[in-house]
Symmetry: C2
Subunit: 104 residues, 2 copies
């Protein structure tokens, strides 16, 4: 199976905002934003089962927020930081910064 990704110029604002509008997906994006290394999907501490986890990664990938690929038996992910910064300057930084602010 090959992972499908939108080209940079195909990334849509509404789709990115939708992908980011879920607390579990925000957690994935925040963890990916905290390190530059690719992460295996199974290494994220999410409060969901395997199929929901797969769904969340697919939503992020199809919106153009993350890139996924296989290495051996692992699925690795990285944030498409340059692509997002180029399309929507400041958006990802604002989301990552907001997410560090604890709820009052």
């Amino acid at each position: 199976m090959t992972f499908v990704h939108p080209e940079t110029e195909e990334i849509e604002l509404a789709a990115v905002l939708h992908a980011l509008s879920d607390p579990q997906r925000l957690r994935i994006v925040r963890e990916l934003g905290a390190c530059d290394e690719p992460r295996a999907c199974g290494s994220f501490a999410l409060d969901v089962g395997k199929s929901t986890r797969t769904h969340h990664f697919r939503v992020l990938r199809e919106a153009g927020v993350i890139r996924q690929w296989r290495e051996g038996t692992s699925r690795l992910s990285t944030l498409r930081r340059e692509d997002l910064d180029g399309r929507f300057p400041g958006l990802l930084d604002a989301v990552l910064a907001a997410d560090r602010v604890p709820a009052l």
Copy 2:
């Protein structure tokens, strides 16, 4: 009927991103961002019927993105710019700026 609004500190990032993740709601927010005057809900050029229009305004209001009130027979709206800037610095500016970039 009184309009219900979240307090500033109750505004949630995921709810704001969800509210902004629809093209019609993005259009409302962009138009509100373009002028500082309150706007009547009926004055927005949206490609939807009246009940869908009401729904979109409610989603924006309940997420804390806009403030709505009645004046006579009109429903007026403004963007909660200060509240959003305080909670999530840079987010609204990034969304409004991104929305001015035409799709390629």
